[in-house]
Amino acid sequence: MISPRTRGMEVETQTHEKNSILQTEALSLWYGRQQALDQISLSIPKNRVTAIIGPSGCGKSTFIRSLNRLNDLIPSVKISGRVLFHGQDIYAKGVDPVEVRRRIGMVFQKPNPFPKSIYENLAFGLRINGYKDDLDGRVEQALRRAALWEEVKDFLHKKGGLDLSGGQQQRLCIARALAVEPEVLLMDEPCSALDPIATAKIEDLIQELKRDYTVVIVTHNMQQAARVSDYTAFFYLGRLIEFAPTEKIFENPTRKETEDYITGKFG
C-alpha cells in the first residue's frame, strides 16, 4: 500500500492556532504486514473543524479511528508513534480505551442507532459510563445539541431509534456521542448515506458543535470539506501530503498532488 518514502518532502503539520487538543507524532499503522499510515504528524486545533480528505484507501478512516483507539479492536493492527490528547499518549500503558472513547466520540458513515427507544439510545451510554443523576436532563440536552429535540420530544419512549428517518438517525447518533460529554467528535463520512437536506442539517449542526467541541471529519465530498471545515488535511497513500487552512487548500494548495486531487485530475 505504501511506496518507499520520498526524501525531503516537507509537510506543514501545525496550524497557527494556539490550542491544539490532539496531536499525532510520527503515527504509523500496519494491518498485518500492510502499512496503512506512514509517520503522520498532525496537530488538531481545539474548537475547530478539521477535515480529512483523500482518495479511497489513503488512510483517512484508519487515521481517525486511531485517534480514539478504535483500531484496537482489530487484532492484526500494529501501531508506532504517539497520539497525544491534552499532551498525554492515549496508547500509553494504563490508559483505559473506554475512557478515551468517551472523551473522543465517534459518529460513523451509516447511522447505527440501537434497536431501542430514542430515550434509551442515549440513556444506555450514560448509564454504562456511570451517569446516574438527571438522566432526563442529560438526554434532553444532548438531543438539543444535536438539533433533534424539537422533532422527537413527544415520543422519546414510544418510538425506536430505527423508526426515525436516516438524517434523524444520524443526528441521534451524534446526540448519543454528545450525551457522554466528549471533547472531540470524530465523524467518519457522516453524511454519505444521507440526502441533501439531511446533509445540510448535519453541516449546520457541525458549525454549531465547534463552539463546544473539536470536530474531525472524514469526507469524500470535497465541497462539504470546503463548506464545513476550518482546516483540511490531504492524505494520499497513507501519508499526509498537505495540511493548511481550508481556504488555502481549496484556493491555492501548495502541493501539486493536492491540486490534482481536489480538481479531479486523479482519484
Partner: protein, 225 residues
C-alpha cells in the same frame, strides 16, 4: 485523468476566450485602419461587428457560469474560470473602444492636429500589448504577462506626449481661427483627437488587466489586479 470532459471544457474555454481576443484585435485594427484611410464604410461596419462581439461575450459568460454551477471548480481551475470571466469583460470593452475609433474616423480633418502616423503608432503599440497579452493568456506565460504589464508605463508616457503635442497644435491653430465656425471646428477636432488618445490608453489598460488575470490564474498572486 478523471473528469476528462470537464478538462476539455476548461481547455475549450481557454481557446474560446483566445478566439474572442483574436476577433477583438481584428476589430481594433479595423478601427485604426478607418482612421488611417478615413474610410467611412469600414468605420460604419464596426457597429454590426460589435453586436457579434457582445453576443460572443454573453455566450462565454454563460459557459463560465455553467462551469461554476455544474463543476464546482476549485484552486487553479476556479482561478482560470474567474480570470476568463473577467477577461471576457475586458475584451468586450476593447471592442467598444474599437467602435469609438471608427466614429472618430468619421470626424473630418480631426487628425490634422497631430501627425496621423503618430496616433497610428500609438494604436499599434496598444494593439501589440493586447495581442501579446492574449498570447500570454493562451500559452500560460507568466513572465510574458509581467513584461507586458511593465510596457504600460511606456504606453502612458506616449499618450501623455501625444496629448501635449495635441494641445500645442490647438494653441497654434486657434490663433489662426478667424471665424466662430473655424474655432468650433478646431475645438471638435481637438476633442476627437484627445478622445482617441484616451481610448488607446484604455486599450493598454485592458491588456494589463488581461495579463494581471493571467498571472492570478497561474500563480494565485493577485498583486497586479
Amino acid at each position: 485523468m478523471v473528469r476528462e470532459s470537464y478538462q476539455q471544457q476548461l481547455d475549450g474555454l481557454l481557446e474560446a476566450v483566445s478566439d474572442m481576443g483574436r476577433r477583438v484585435l481584428e476589430g481594433l485594427h479595423r478601427g485604426l485602419q478607418a482612421i488611417r484611410d478615413h474610410d467611412r464604410a469600414l468605420a460604419e461596419s464596426l457597429d454590426a461587428w460589435d453586436n457579434t462581439i457582445d453576443r460572443l461575450a454573453l455566450d462565454l459568460e454563460k459557459r463560465c457560469t455553467d462551469l461554476l454551477a455544474l463543476q464546482q471548480p476549485v484552486a487553479g481551475d476556479l482561478r482560470q474560470i474567474l480570470s476568463a470571466f473577467k477577461i471576457v469583460t475586458d475584451l468586450e470593452r476593447v471592442a467598444d473602444l474599437a467602435v469609438n475609433l471608427g466614429e472618430y474616423a468619421l470626424v473630418s480633418e480631426a487628425f490634422v492636429l497631430v501627425p496621423k502616423e503618430e496616433l497610428l503608432a500609438l494604436g499599434h503599440f496598444a494593439s501589440r500589448m493586447l495581442e501579446d497579452g492574449l498570447q500570454a493568456f493562451r500559452t500560460r506565460d507568466v513572465e510574458k504577462a509581467r513584461e507586458i504589464i511593465e510596457r504600460d508605463g511606456e504606453m502612458d508616457q506616449r499618450c501623455w506626449d501625444l496629448r501635449t503635442e495635441t494641445l500645442m497644435g490647438i494653441m497654434r491653430d486657434a490663433s489662426q481661427a478667424h471665424t466662430p465656425g473655424q474655432a468650433q471646428e478646431i475645438a471638435a477636432n481637438t476633442i476627437t483627437v484627445l478622445w482617441s488618445i484616451r481610448d488607446l490608453e484604455r486599450v493598454g489598460d485592458h491588456a494589463v488587466n488581461i495579463c494581471a488575470r493571467t498571472i492570478y490564474w497561474l500563480t494565485a498572486n493577485p498583486e497586479y489586479i
